[in-house]
Structure formats: structure tokens, C-alpha cells
């Protein structure tokens, strides 16, 4: 953040820095790989109880009503301290929807546990035949009295094998084209008939996952919103998810890795390298500014529909760019396999770069976001809409 901080903001930064220094376990700092929920549990709870796992939440739900500036300060301090990524779907994806659409019972049951990491959530949206074209999803839920019987196959259900609960989009109507044929439902992962299977990624971890659903019985009280409202509720959720997935924390982490690598290899004495590092640094500044601006617009009720697409896309591109610079300047080191957990002096040349490929794919590919921007922000017409064309 470039702007001048108020005395209160400076105090908040100092408080965050001191607290992180005291509470972030050394063995979790500067993790090269994504850590498992079991490894993260204690830290997640401490952060959640401090109100800092979802600082923008209202106090009544366990946040601290953080202003946009405070949120960015916290992001900067978390990155600075080398804090690990949290399995945050429960926090940033489903919780805001429960706050908005959930019953009192659902809020009581889930919000606190999501915030402290006591319950880890995974998102079951995509299916083998329904990725970008999510509306064509085929996992079916039949309503039988007070129960739903679910059958189907979800994929790219990140972290499902380590999760306690899932939230799913399922088909409850016969007409696949009808808007009211999709429903959002919460599912306890221990329910009989739920079989998750990890999928090893390009980066070598197994955070991707598929889930088989075989006659899974869910109480109707687990439906969020009304039956058939899933598309509306789920779209609101996607918008929330994307604006938060524009968080500069990945880019800030990547930038600090880049600087560590440049110092380690001695490349920081090469003017050509320094120019590329400065370029990366400026991109990160621009991302932070754009993110903060979007949070401020959101707080003022002036957010544009396309903001979340724009931030999601830009956050991914900036992070990938920083890590591409890291690769480019690292010479022979670029291909070295990194240890699982690093420190702030030993660089990770490769893992973060490998993992960064997911950023422009997950949560709606960057191409999907560009399409949304073209139509919603620029007012261009849907490809192929007037016949012909090379959509």
C-alpha cells in the first residue's frame, strides 16, 4: 500500500506485526507447498479467534469489521510474516452466502466453525462435463419428503479429501435449461455414499479432487435458500469468491520469494535482473491499488458487477508474472526442486511457479472472466449472438 496511513492504521499494522511474530508457528512460515488442514488447524483457530481469518466480517459473525485499508494491511503483514495459505473456501466462499441466505440454524451451526477452521469446506460445483459451462451440471438430487437423495460425480473439488463439509450445486428440476432447476446444498463429508479421490496436480500435490456421490441422503434443512434458487445463490457466491481471489497476498508472497532468490543467486547485482524485479514489484503495487480500490467501492456500495472478474483475472496474471520473472532470473536454479517447507533465506525456485498455473484456471478461467468483462463492462455482444462470427 502506497498511501499515507492514519495513526490508527499505523497502530493496527504494528499490532498485527507483533501478534503474527508471537503467534505464527515457525514451522508453518514460508511453506513452499500448500499445507494440509491438519497441519494448519492450530494456526487457523488462533487467527480465526483473533477475528483476522475473515477480518471484513461483521463483529457479530466473528470478524472485526475491518476497513478496506485494514484488510490490505493485514494481507501485507501476513505475507511479510510468511503465513501459509489457509483452506479458505469455508471462510470466503460459503460463509458470506450463509450470512446472506442461510437460516438461523445454518448460521449457528456453520459460521463459527468455518471461521476458526474447526470445519474445513470444499466446493462441489464443476463436473466432468460441466466446467466453464457450469449450468449444464448433471448431479441429480431427488426430493423425497424431508430428504434429498443425491447421485452424481463432482470434480476439481479442491481439498475435498481433507474437508469436513462440502457445498454442492445439484440439479433438482427436470428441465436443464430452466433457471430454477439448480439447488445449493450443504453436505457432511462423512455421509455414507460420499467418496473423494485426490488428483495429483502438475505441481505434484494432490489438492485437486473428485467426489463420487452415490445415493447420498441429505436432510432438506441443508438446502441454502429455496429449492431451485441455487443458481442465484451460487452466482452471488462466485462474485464474492472472485473479488477475494483477487487478493494480492499470493503476489506479495511471490515477490518476497523473488527477492530472496535474487539475493541468493547474486542476480540482484545485475542491472538487467533488477529491472525485471522492479517491473514485478510495480505490477504488485498496481494489483494492491486495484484491489484496495475495489474493496473501497464494495464498502461504499459502488462495486461494479465486473470488478470481481477483473480482480480475479488480474491477481492471477500478476502473481504468474512475478513467478515467471523469478524463473527467468534464476538461471540453472530455476529447475531445482524445492524442499516442502522453506525459510526466508533459502529460495523456492520452482514450486510456487508450478502451483501458480492454477490461479488463472480455478474459480472460472481467465478466459471466462474476459468474456464477462467484454459483455458487462465493455458492452460487447455475446459471441455468435447475431449469427455467423468466429466465436
Amino acid at each position: 500500500m502506497l498511501r499515507e496511513e492514519t495513526p490508527a492504521e499505523q497502530a493496527f499494522r504494528a499490532e498485527a506485526r507483533a501478534w503474527l511474530e508471537a503467534h505464527l508457528p515457525p514451522e508453518l512460515r514460508h511453506a513452499n507447498n500448500r499445507l494440509t488442514p491438519a497441519e494448519l488447524k492450530g494456526w487457523f483457530r488462533a487467527l480465526g479467534e483473533r477475528g483476522w481469518a475473515a477480518p471484513h466480517w461483521p463483529r457479530e459473525h466473528g470478524g472485526i469489521d475491518a476497513t478496506p485499508v485494514e484488510q490490505v494491511i493485514l494481507i501485507e503483514e501476513l505475507a511479510r510474516a510468511g503465513a501459509p495459505d489457509l483452506p479458505a473456501q469455508g471462510l470466503t466462499h460459503i460463509s458470506p452466502i450463509l450470512i446472506k441466505y442461510g437460516t438461523d440454524e445454518q448460521k449457528r451451526q456453520h459460521l463459527h466453525k468455518a471461521r476458526t477452521g474447526e470445519v474445513i469446506w470444499a466446493q462441489g460445483y464443476s463436473e466432468p462435463g460441466s466446467g466453464s459451462d457450469l449450468r449444464s451440471l448433471r448431479t441429480k438430487a431427488v426430493i423425497e419428503g424431508e430428504r434429498l437423495i443425491i447421485n452424481g460425480h463432482k470434480i476439481w473439488t479442491t481439498g475435498a479429501q481433507y474437508s469436513d463439509w462440502l457445498y454442492l450445486l445439484v440439479r433438482t428440476g427436470a428441465d436443464p435449461k430452466a433457471r430454477d432447476s439448480i439447488t445449493l446444498v450443504l453436505l457432511d463429508a462423512k455421509t455414507p455414499g460420499v467418496t473423494p479421490r485426490g488428483i495429483v496436480t502438475l505441481a505434484g500435490d494432490d489438492e485437486l479432487c473428485e467426489v463420487f456421490l452415490d445415493n447420498v441422503v441429505v436432510p432438506i434443512g441443508n438446502v441454502v435458500g429455496k429449492i431451485g434458487e441455487g443458481w442465484t445463490v451460487g452466482t452471488a457466491l462466485l462474485a464474492e469468491e472472485r473479488i477475494r481471489s483477487g487478493t494480492p497476498i499470493h503476489a506479495l508472497r511471490a515477490l518476497s520469494r523473488l527477492k530472496v532468490a535474487a539475493r541468493y543467486t547474486g542476480a540482484d547485482r545485475d542491472p538487467w535482473v533488477l529491472d525485471r524485479v522492479a517491473q514485478a514489484e510495480i505490477e504488485v503495487m498496481a494489483l494492491e491499488a486495484a484491489f484496495l480500490e475495489a474493496l473501497e467501492a464494495q464498502a461504499a456500495g459502488e462495486a461494479e458487477f465486473e470488478d470481481s472478474s477483473r480482480l480475479k483475472l488480474y491477481g492471477a496474471e500478476v502473481t504468474q508474472f512475478v513467478l515467471e520473472v523469478l524463473q527467468d532470473i534464476s538461471g540453472a536454479h530455476a529447475a531445482i526442486r524445492a524442499p516442502r517447507v522453506g525459510d526466508d533465506a533459502t529460495p523456492d525456485f520452482s514450486t510456487m511457479f508450478l502451483q501458480s498455473r492454477r490461479l488463472s484456471i480455478r474459480g472460472g478461467t481467465n478466459e471466462i472472466q474476459r468474456g464477462i468483462i467484454a459483455m458487462r463492462a465493455l458492452g460487447l455482444s455475446r459471441p455468435g449472438s447475431s449469427g455467423g462470427g468466429n466465436a
Binding site: L2, E4, L274, A278, I282, A289, L292, R310, L378
Partner: protein
């Protein structure tokens, strides 16, 4: 951020009306074909509106806008391709406003539009070296230096520095200028035995350094703002073309290959703007120079990417001189190097980081 406030309307509409009233893009086209980057008539109007004193406090005869409002003014001037050397004048005014006594008369003339004042820097670093009581060597090229009546320079004099005024025509200071592709100019001073004793010293020591740096950082933000506005308008024109132009029976803007390119420009354009206004808030921090350098570097690269893509998206029409995009393209080239090109900005950013021990 940056929904316009009511008070912003006055600025945004004021500058747009002034530039439209002065002749709009046809005037820009005429000036780009010539060799003088502005007309004195418009300069007088800018003065009459108070814009030449935009960055100076009311108590000192200006209108006392904040940095954000100055950026807004320039962003909207950039949309209309204002060729006048307003950024150089605002930077000079910020320097003079910090000088007190001897700078007062110069500042008054600047704000009144009587004298065009342009800051110049050394070829490397900020300050010119003095040897034996005289200045020698060259300054770096400065945008709009060609039209400067008076130049402001920082000189290193023994252990201290001084901010001095060098009027055009001073013996020992020759203006060397090169025409730029947008009808403007860059110029430098060739100094040959320019006696320091002959020059008016406006400030000395830390006051001189502080004044020079304040003006230099303002210039960076100012050029960034012009570029942000320019890129925004170029993209808007292009999006309109994508909607209007039909091929294969449909608007070409319905083709995904073109949509995605326009969307990418939209994303970086918004980022460039956000960075500019974020940087405007860094005034009271040690990061001010870093912020300004980052904003300028990013705005320059974003604007160049934008105009290149905009020409391409217009097809053959985009490559004609007749199309207004040619004016945007040429002006973007000139503004991209104004106040320092992207690479030199990054070089200075790194040096600044080292100074703050913050790599």
C-alpha cells in the same frame, strides 16, 4: 474509489469544455503537424481558469487543489490530448511554492501564464555539478523544454545544493531541442561556462532538494495522469468501433478473439488508474518517490500497450494518419518518455529502494 465528487465535476467538465472550446482534436491535429506544442491563447485560458496554479496553495496565489484533484484534471486533459506543457508548469510551480522570497515573482508570472517555466535535471542524478564557480556539460532531455522561458535546475555547490533559475538566453546556456513525433519537443541545456554567480538562487540546502524532489515527483504523477486518460479514451474509441464495424454480418466486437484483447486492456487500464490515485496518497511518506516512479512507469507501458492494440483492432483504418487514433498513438509515445521513460523510472525506483534500505 474515484466515483466523482460534486467538486470534481467542476474540474472534469472545466478542462473538457476548455479543450473542446479551443478546437478539440482538430486543433491537436494541427499542432501535431507543426513544431510548437501549444498555443498561447489556450495557455492564457488555462491561466484564467486558475489551472496553472492548481498545485499551489491559495495563500500563495494558486487554487490549492490536492494531488488527487490535480491528477483528475490531468487525466481528463489527457483524454483530449492536451498538448500544452501544463505538467512541466505544475512541477515548476510546486518547486517555486517551496522557495519563498526570490521565487515569488516567478511563481506569480507562472500562474498568470506570462512565463513558461520548465524544470531540468542533470543527465544522471538530479543536480548539476559546479566546477570553478561555473556550470558545464548538459542537462537531460526534458519534455516541453523547447517552450521554456525559464528553467529551474538543482546545482551541487560544494557540500550543499541550490535551486537556481536559468532564464532562456542566459550566456553559457544554450537550448538544444529535438522535435518529437507529436509536434512537441524535448530539449536540453548545453552549459558552457555558465557563471553560477549570475543566476538567481531560489533555495539552498535541504530546502532546495525538497523543492526539486517535490516538483519532480509531481511531474511523474502528472505525466502518468495524462497517460491514464489517454489510454482510457483510446480504448473507449476502440470499443465503440468494435460495436459499429460489421463484418460477416455481425459487429466485429462479437468475436471472442477481439473481445479478449479489449478486456485485457480494460483490466490493465483500470490497474494503471488505481495505481496512479493510490500513489497520489503517498505524499507524506518516504515512499512518495517510489510511488510516483511506479505510477509513471506503469502508466507509460500500459498506454503504449493500449494504443498499439487499439491501432491493430481498428485494422487498416487504425494505421491511417486520418484516423484520430494516430494522434493518440503519437502523443502516447511522447508522454511515455516524459519525466523519464519506463526503464529509467525503474532504475530510479531501485536506487530509491536502496536509499531507503528496502530491497
Amino acid at each position: 474509489m474515484l466515483k466523482l465528487k460534486d467538486t470534481d465535476r467542476h474540474i472534469v467538465d472545466g478542462i473538457a469544455d476548455l479543450l473542446e472550446g479551443a478546437g478539440g482534436l482538430p486543433r491537436v491535429r494541427r499542432l501535431q503537424a507543426g513544431r510548437l506544442s501549444f498555443d498561447r491563447g489556450v495557455w492564457g485560458k488555462l491561466a484564467a481558469h486558475g489551472w496553472l496554479g492548481a498545485a499551489v496553495a491559495e495563500a500563495q496565489g494558486g487554487v490549492g487543489l490536492g494531488l488527487r484533484e490535480v491528477a483528475l484534471l490531468l487525466e481528463h486533459a489527457g483524454k483530449k490530448l492536451m498538448p500544452e506543457p501544463l505538467v512541466a508548469a505544475l512541477a515548476a510551480s510546486a518547486m517555486l511554492a517551496r522557495c519563498g522570497g526570490p521565487g515569488k515573482a516567478l511563481l506569480a508570472d507562472l500562474i498568470a501564464g506570462k512565463t513558461v517555466i520548465v524544470p531540468v535535471a542533470a543527465e544522471s542524478g538530479d543536480a548539476l555539478e559546479v566546477a570553478g564557480g561555473a556550470l558545464a556539460g548538459r542537462t537531460a532531455y526534458t519534455s516541453d523544454g523547447h517552450v521554456g522561458d525559464v528553467f529551474l535546475a538543482l546545482v551541487a555547490h560544494g557540500a550543499t545544493t541550490q535551486l537556481v533559475a536559468i532564464p532562456r538566453g542566459t550566456k553559457g546556456a544554450t537550448v538544444e531541442s529535438e522535435d518529437t513525433v507529436d509536434g512537441g519537443s524535448i530539449a536540453r541545456l548545453r552549459l558552457d561556462g555558465l557563471a553560477l554567480a549570475e543566476l538567481t538562487v531560489l533555495a539552498a540546502g535541504e530546502a532546495a532538494d525538497g523543492a526539486f524532489r517535490a516538483g519532480r515527483d509531481l511531474a511523474l504523477l502528472g505525466y502518468a495522469a495524462l497517460l491514464v486518460g489517454l489510454a482510457d479514451e483510446a480504448l473507449a474509441m476502440t470499443v465503440q468501433y468494435l460495436k459499429d464495424r460489421k463484418q460477416f454480418g455481425v459487429p466485429i466486437g462479437s468475436f471472442q478473439a477481439l473481445q479478449h484483447r479489449a478486456a485485457s486492456l480494460y483490466v490493465i487500464g483500470k490497474a494503471s488508474r488505481a495505481l496512479l490515485y493510490e500513489a497520489c496518497g503517498a505524499g507524506g511518506t518516504p515512499r512518495r518517490a517510489i510511488a510516483a516512479l511506479a505510477a509513471k512507469s506503469y502508466a507509460a507501458e500500459t498506454a503504449m500497450k493500449t494504443v498499439k492494440e487499439c491501432v491493430q483492432l481498428h485494422g487498416a483504418m487504425g494505421y491511417t494518419a486520418e484516423h484520430n487514433m494516430s494522434l493518440y498513438f503519437r502523443r502516447a509515445m511522447a508522454l511515455a518518455i516524459a519525466g523519464g521513460d519506463a526503464i529509467s523510472c525503474r532504475k530510479r525506483l531501485h536506487a530509491e529502494r536502496q536509499r531507503l534500505q528496502d530491497f
